[in-house]
Symmetry: C2
Subunit: 390 residues, 2 copies
DNA sequence: TTGTAAGCGTTATCAA
DNA sequence: TTGATAACGCTTACAA
């Protein structure tokens, strides 16, 4: 190593360029370029020599130069639009990102990750990245029911894949999925056949962008199967943000499943929250204080589920005897509570890998597609059981 | 907007360049460059005109071109070396990143964020980024007691700031801070005066890199003050990974504080873990099963604290009557348990802002410095109280 | 199979 | 105060 401190700082080692390699290998720069990029037009012998020299020198292509001449920036972008406070306890994103990078790092592609306050800032950032040519494409997360992003990205010509989509499904014949907001009450029961819903979820392709998604409808059906099978008839789904596409899908699915079993929409229903422990707890309190409280609650994330379990404990309501609890998404959280929480487990890093692969496929000129991730499975733990007779 | 679908994808809008601006404003390219970069050598009039045209065209500098000619890539890097499984419930990093980006986005600087498996991969990535000229500098997190990164980065001449440092403090006269691993027992009591320790923590500057850090020693002292004041005399610190610099500082501080109060090192001590809920729970079980269990436990993160509280509940040990619990780092987790957990609260986004500012200062040619973040404060909740008499 | 040369969009150095 | 012009490191026609 060089001398420490200031010295090292002032005189950074020079990075080798293609010219250095050319000189050292006794060939032209273009030959080097061809050799290193696996292009025809250079002999096996030369190719090998160039490769060896490059290795010796520890050469790596200058990403700026490559981006400037070739079209590729060698980087993809991912923006997370969340108010700073909402950046709570969420293993989801870190795991998603780690899966994405497993795929990207093998191809030497960098990921620009940015956390912003809101959707407007996110859109502005896409425009900037596009104008700056900073990224070759982006992964769009948290798709919404009304989402301006696909149209913007398509207009810019910035390749993108919607993760968790479809962002804006076609017009819903029965109107948008709605749930009572926490404050209000009662939602008019808009019946729809299971077949209708299934068809919808089978062809959710967004016309503008490729999409990778999980079948929340089927997952919700599994949860319902589990709870209904145990004997539950009063089931409430404490959902996340109402504007998100997957929230809408889950709500719609719950309704479909209720209809299929002839359950009343007053007994089986969804309420929306902001995903925070505070709103999760608040919604739970309201439900438990009602005249006929639910015997089972499904929470849209782990944090709310734990908060809900805590409320039950505070009320002296025993889980699972008097109340069953299911968490959508598993994490350490679900395993440290007492009792441990039954959870819907999905392979989040795997989902990230899928998304990255799909974006790379789009960059390579592949067709727009809709790819479905693995169906989550229900990990039954101690928080769900048959409801106590009353 | 242009026509949707394939059309938009095939014919992406052209990005305006400096040449377009020059043509349209009727000046030379270099005049445009000067005007847009606030350099002297162009009249007020021209400058205004150029600016207006650039605005109209929605021009943004092509980051690759700028990186190629100027020295700057306009991006910083942050690598998180964590085995994928350990990417658990941690709000810390997302919050840190959000703070960092508050500072960077104001200066239009992007952040390359990468999650890797281990330190070796992290170092390889620094080398690659450096060779590719991908980043202008990096933020080094999770500094260790024996850390190869500062030397590597200094040798490469890649500007960096250690976040949470100092990474490798000067040789400790009393030997490295050690704690009994969970499996073993007893550590030889290596006494050291409080003054000595204070001096050490007052001048932790790493000779190679700038550092922003939090005074874990003082924070630990605060925790001890709290618990000792309540009457606790048997206090165990369930620490995180033994190799991390801040773990060492906390362990050392605990010992110093014990000595200062004449407490036995068998009664007040640290054990190390991997931060996981599993090891946190396991360590807690071991402690509670001992002949003379501690009356208070300090956990190095929120997940372990919650896991520990859960173990206590499982054992029928009442918190805080029979056991007091403190969590290092607050989060929603600490507020959803029953009782809510007393926690050491710090401003993580603020810490991120500080780190980003410091790195920018280094990039601007500022001197190597050691900057101290805000001291965490203890948020006393229901999990700490006077120990029950026995 | 090889080398020469133009170009990518900036910044920076010169003369004018 | 301006406008050519040469880098920066790479890719890629095109010519030898």
């Amino acid at each position: 190593m060089t001398a420490p401190g200031e010295a090292a700082r002032r005189k950074p080692a020079r990075r080798p360029t293609i010219k250095d390699i050319a000189r050292r290998a006794g060939v032209s720069e273009s030959a080097v370029s061809f050799a290193l990029n696996d292009r025809p037009g250079v002999s096996q012998d030369t190719r090998a020599r160039v490769r060896r020299v490059a290795e010796e020198l520890g050469w790596q292509a200058n990403s700026a130069a490559r981006a400037l001449s070739g079209e590729r920036a060698g980087a993809l972008g991912l923006v997370l639009a969340r108010p700073a406070q909402t950046l709570g306890v969420e293993s989801f994103f870190l795991q998603l990102v780690s899966g994405i990078q497993e795929v990207l790092s093998a191809r030497q592609i960098a990921l620009l990750f940015q956390v912003v306050e809101d959707l407007g800032t996110e859109c502005a950032l896409y425009r900037r990245w596009w104008a700056e040519r900073r990224v070759d494409g982006v992964l769009v997360v948290d798709p919404r029911t009304e989402d301006p992003r696909p149209e913007l990205l398509a207009a810019l010509g910035l390749p993108a894949v919607v993760v968790g989509g479809p962002a804006t499904p076609g017009p819903d014949p029965s109107g948008p999925a709605t749930a009572e907001p926490t404050a209000k009450s009662a939602a008019e029961p808009t019946a729809k056949s299971a077949a209708e819903s299934a068809a919808e979820s089978a062809a959710p392709a967004h016309p503008l962008l490729s999409t990778v998604w999980a079948d929340d409808a089927k997952a919700m059906a599994r949860v319902l199967d589990h709870l209904y099978g145990l004997g539950h008839r009063r089931i409430v789904h404490i959902a996340g943000l109402p504007g998100l596409a997957h929230t809408a899908r889950r709500i719609r699915s719950l309704r479909t499943e209720a209809d299929r079993r002839g359950l009343d929409h007053r007994q089986v229903r969804s309420v929306t929250t902001d995903y925070s422990d505070a709103e999760g707890a608040e919604a739970t309190r309201r439900l438990l204080d009602a005249a006929r409280p639910p015997t089972a609650i499904v929470y849209d994330n782990d944090v709310m589920a734990v908060a809900g379990a805590s409320v039950a404990a505070e009320r002296g309501i025993s889980v699972p005897d008097a109340l069953s609890i299911v968490a959508w998404d598993d994490s350490a959280l679900c395993r440290v509570t007492h009792p441990r929480l039954t959870a819907l487990v999905r392979d989040t890093p795997g989902f990230g890998r899928l998304a990255a692969q799909e974006l790379l496929a789009v960059l390579d000129g592949g067709p727009l597609r809709t790819v479905q991730g693995e169906l989550p499975h229900l990990e039954a733990r101690e928080s769900t059981a048959a409801p106590s007779p009353r």
